[in-house]
Symmetry: C2
Subunit: 491 residues, 2 copies
């Protein structure tokens, strides 16, 4: 166990909070609820961005940038959107400060009051659809496939690094289409992109499904999502893709002339993932020794630690290390040779374990003599000797193996912690115990959903796409149910 | 001349404003002074980001992210900084809206007033140095070499797309060092990075120099800058790199234990470039037909336009075009085959000229018969026939040629528009006329600088590093001057 790191078994929540700090990922700032993302944490986000951005572009999207501020009145234009987003938010009311006439620093200049308050964007549907109005006249202007990488602000009362912060970084896709079907297809395509990213890059198995009306995005006709299970049995929503129908086109009066010459409202989607994914990545794979990162998103994939006592030994070990480093780099593996003299090998081992570097290579005088290197993998903590000449091939295949192993392990965990239940007693026993996903029948009403939430804190995470569609009886009300839905306590 | 585009000679300012809109780069938004960066404009910024980010990383920097909001009191901690930055800015005073009891939409909830107002960051020195306090104890924690890509807000009264907007995108580097010399070296290194970027990627020759005290960054000991000349004879500051001394370390009480065991204040730098560079790029190279983009930053480097009348002709021309496209792509050239039937070749030619695509390839039935393609370069508008089999090599070398030609042209323009003067009469004649850079003697006082500015609108752009260091007499006051400085009217 890493020095001073609370174990998951002792207090999972505490373990997470400590790990984020100890691994230098992020910290709280002087501004309530806003985090500082430190270089190591930010480099994970950069890797996520690069992979996602390439996938967005492959599916035909371009990036653009819209204003940080949204006029207050925009939020009132879409009836359900205002309820969901225009409440807990940062409001800009003035545009100037001045010296305090009493000499006590600076104060707001009351003469510089905005006629209409500006809201720091909590999401950008309104400002973007107000903009699209000017971009769309004819079917020839459609589709618009645009994404934005941006910061957004939601004034959360209880915040946690990465998982829930007042300001966070995200991407928000906003597309405009000539037909409902095209928009629905886009909604599905982007959910698939998210699922592929979660599974292939984050090594995180996800369940694709549809939100209930209660849990739907404010302003959406339909919200699709991917849900993952964390090691404490709680679910975490990893991405959402919304079919917005014509709601925003109607709110902002965006119409186009169809091929047939009719004037019609435009169809819309929006979809997003955020820095929350960094939290999911930590929670899904890491252990009591620290971070465990999937090689595809690890800022550093391998580290070489030299072991020596004398200068003469260092010379030999250093030469061997540099040759291994070159071989790894030639294979496109990101690798660091940590030859700092200020720290002992044992300290370095613990440090790179804490930081989740997937592969560690140690080289000592005996290794040089025998032509070997010791390679340790972070996921299983196994160590083995390999011929130095095969180090690059070994590490390359180990990285693939680790990526796959993390996925398999997370999938096994999810399978072991997904329960099909047919009674409310069983349901409560699981939810109050080890938790996990619970597949159960539900009568389809918001009332039952709400009651179960109040009594157990579990919510319907989604109606899974590949769920069991056989009818049954609602575990709570006993009324008929079309299909099973997936419950869990959630972040 | 592009249809409807005002010529530079008629009204340079109008030409710029129209071009930004017509070329789909950006537009004004519903929020005063904030722009929407459209996909084509944003893709230029993305190319700039990619090149700069790689250069930052090569020079040892990592990215991180700091809060959007800064507590008001932070600005008062550094005396000169507050004057420069804490005045015209967006002030967040409340964190909640509520339904208007009179049913008129939503209003600010007066009970949700922040105890201390938050400023939307106009620059991040204060919040970052407040954070660094927690990161730095010993010389072992130094240097810190961090950069942030972010949005910032300065409440400008007169805004212009890209050149001066209330919100803009930028990067801001913030580094911490154990010695003054190390910080000064960093300041110089980053100025060199900016100059290299401007010259090699933007094809924009720049003059490196030092700002006068008047023009210095608020809170800096020394501000270095790169200055470029636009086609209307006005200068544009393209990047700044500041040596901050110990000012922010003192303001935020950031000390470290040196190797000798002394407690000392940390030394700082900051440096930044912004979306303003997109404006500089447009102004430096473009012409009355539209954008002219340097190939290294062009979102699309080449376009293929098919010319045909019959389906049979299209089949042959299309096959030839696709084969040329593959050959170009194999060379890493970004190329589009525009076979839209909705637009005529002439329309497409004008469109890609307007968009500044560096190379245009036209292929018609005669070309197919003769095994040729017509290649036009955007910078000179020259067209020539080439053997189809050599299209890729030809385009690759043309792209290099265009990149170099744009630089050479801009350098020649700057040389022709840089004047050495020894009297105020001469000075005024040039500044009031064609403008350009004027190299003149100045007595070194803020008063003289201010007078000249008031009388002519010209400012001292910089004291050039490679300027003429021979002494002389100030053109305004006649007092002794150590060296010539560079004046210009500026954006």
């Amino acid at each position: 166990m890493a020095k001073g790191l609370t174990s998951r078994a002792t207090d999972y929540s505490q373990w997470y909070n400590e790990l984020v700090i100890k691994a230098d990922l992020a910290e709280n700032s002087a501004v309530r609820g806003c985090m500082v993302i430190k270089p190591y944490g930010y480099s994970i986000w950069e890797k996520m961005q690069a992979a996602l951005d390439a996938m967005f572009k492959r599916t035909g999207h371009s990036n653009a940038y819209f204003p940080l501020f949204i006029p207050k009145s925009f939020f009132t234009k879409e009836a359900s959107h205002v309820e969901g987003f225009a409440k807990e938010c940062a409001v800009v009311t003035h545009y100037r400060l001045k010296n305090d006439p009493n000499g006590k620093g600076i104060i707001v200049d009351e003469t510089a009051k905005l006629e209409e308050e500006l809201i720091v964007r909590p999401t950008s549907e309104t400002i973007i659809w107000n903009t699209y109005k000017g971009w769309i006249q004819s079917y020839r202007d459609l589709p618009i496939l645009v994404n934005q990488w941006a910061n957004v602000v939601r004034w959360e009362m209880r915040t946690r690094l990465f998982l829930r912060t007042a300001e966070f970084l995200w991407q928000e896709g906003h597309t405009a289409h000539a037909t409902a079907q095209e928009a629905i297809d886009e909604t599905n395509t982007m959910l698939d992109v998210y699922a592929e990213f979660a599974e292939n890059f984050m090594a995180l198995p996800v369940i694709k499904g549809r939100k209930t009306e209660n849990e739907r995005f404010a302003g959406a006709v339909d919200t699709l999502c991917i849900e993952a299970l964390m090691q404490d049995g709680k679910a975490l929503q990893c991405g959402t893709s919304h079919f917005l129908g014509q709601n925003f086109a109607k709110a902002f009066d965006v119409k186009f002339t169809s091929k047939d010459g009719n004037l019609e409202h435009v169809w819309a989607t929006s979809w997003g993932v955020s820095t929350r994914l960094v939290g999911a990545l930590i929670m899904a794979h890491s252990d009591d020794n620290g971070l465990v990162l999937p090689p595809k998103l690890a800022p550093l994939q391998a580290v070489i630690v030299p072991i020596y006592k004398t200068d003469e030994e260092y010379k030999k070990v250093g030469d061997a290390a540099r040759s291994v480093k070159s071989a790894l780099e030639a294979k496109g593996i990101s690798v660091k040779f940590d030859d700092r003299e200020t720290h002992k090998p044992g300290w370095k081992f613990a440090e790179y374990e804490l930081k989740g570097v997937p592969v560690r290579i140690a080289i000592g005088p005996n290794d040089v003599a025998n032509g070997t290197v010791e390679i340790a993998r972070r996921d299983t903590l196994e160590k083995k000797l390999y011929p130095a000449g095969q180090a690059a091939e070994t590490v390359a295949s180990l990285l693939d193996e680790i990526q796959q192993n993390l996925y398999d392990r997370a999938l096994k965990f999810r399978q072991e912690n997904t329960h099909q239940v047919d009674s409310y007693d069983e349901f409560r026993k699981i939810i109050d115990g080890k938790a996990g996903f619970v597949s159960a029948h539900w009568d389809g009403t918001a009332e039952t959903e709400q009651k179960i939430k109040e009594e157990t804190k579990a919510t319907i995470r989604c109606i899974p796409f590949d769920g069991e569609a056989t009818p049954g009886l609602c575990i709570y009300s006993g009324k008929p149910s079309k299909e099973r839905v997936l419950f869990a306590k959630a972040y």
